[in-house]
Amino acid sequence: MSASAKPIANTRSATGIPTARLITWWVIASEIVIFGGLLASYIMHRVGHPEWADAASHTNTWAGAFNTFVLLTSSLCAVLAHKAADGHDGPKAAKLLRLTSLGGLIFLTVKGFEWTKDIHEGFVLSSGGFWSFYYTLAGLHGLHVLAGMIIMLIVAADAAKNQELQRVECIGLYWHFVDIVWIFLFPLLYIAR
């Protein structure tokens, strides 16, 4: 069997959910507990340390809000790509997916400027509890954004040729999940005082 030929196992669907989407849900479930564990650790520390609010006030709410806006918009592109794929319009889906990854790139660029400013002001990973969690949480999330962008570009390359269109929805699901994580990170890291 050549590497590209799919086993029959991959094409069956005893649950009624296509295999690709099923594995995406399980991946998301496993990501929920990874982010959940880290967020729970942060929240219980934060509640015990009211003074972390001082550190939190150094973060730039406007940059965080702009990034939330960027991710929400990229999520819109991702779901429109899913709609295009449902209509068997691969090239349009590919275009929208590339737009979505562009959103990811803007997000990471803004993040880069923010972190540069933070580091210049002397706030690094080891500058105390809040900053350790700030960089770890946002860094883990940023890695997920980066991974999503790369996978999305690969999926888009296939979709442009009208191949593997079922993957468009799956990478979209993942992207929305990453978006939801940020929806909670934004108030936790930028707003709460």
Binding site: A29, G37, M44, H49, D54, G128, F184, F186
Partner: protein
């Protein structure tokens, strides 16, 4: 293999517009100095936003029932983790132990640790 449309596609741009309005609400609310307003603007709105994304973008409400149950189950486990761990970690002293640096940092109101120890 082609994708069969399993969902009705709602007006996504409208959903996105609602999400952006909610974002503005939370930013404006964050300038409030009333703690209750601040917390609702921050976390109440976040929950609503997350629900809107999950419902309209991820179509979780039209997926097989056990999928949302699975995801909620994972959240429940995290809640259990939090409930079991928070009584120890939130406090700075307990049965035969004190976290002196942590409690000092709370009292002084300064950032937790001296840099480059």
């Amino acid at each position: 293999m082609t994708t069969e449309a399993h969902v009705h596609h709602p007006n996504y741009v409208k959903v996105w517009a609602i999400l952006v309005v909610l974002l503005l609400v939370s930013v404006v609310g964050s300038m409030s100095h009333v703690r209750a307003v601040l917390l609702i603007a921050a976390f109440g709105v976040a929950v609503v936003k997350a629900y809107l994304v999950a419902k309209n973008f991820m179509h979780i409400t039209v997926e097989k029932r056990w999928v949302p149950y699975l995801l909620v189950m994972c959240l429940l486990f995290i809640a259990i983790l939090f409930a079991g761990v928070a009584p120890d970690v939130m406090k700075h002293s307990g049965l035969n132990w004190n976290k002196n640096p942590a409690s000092q940092s709370v009292q002084s109101g300064a950032s937790a640790a001296p840099k480059n120890e």
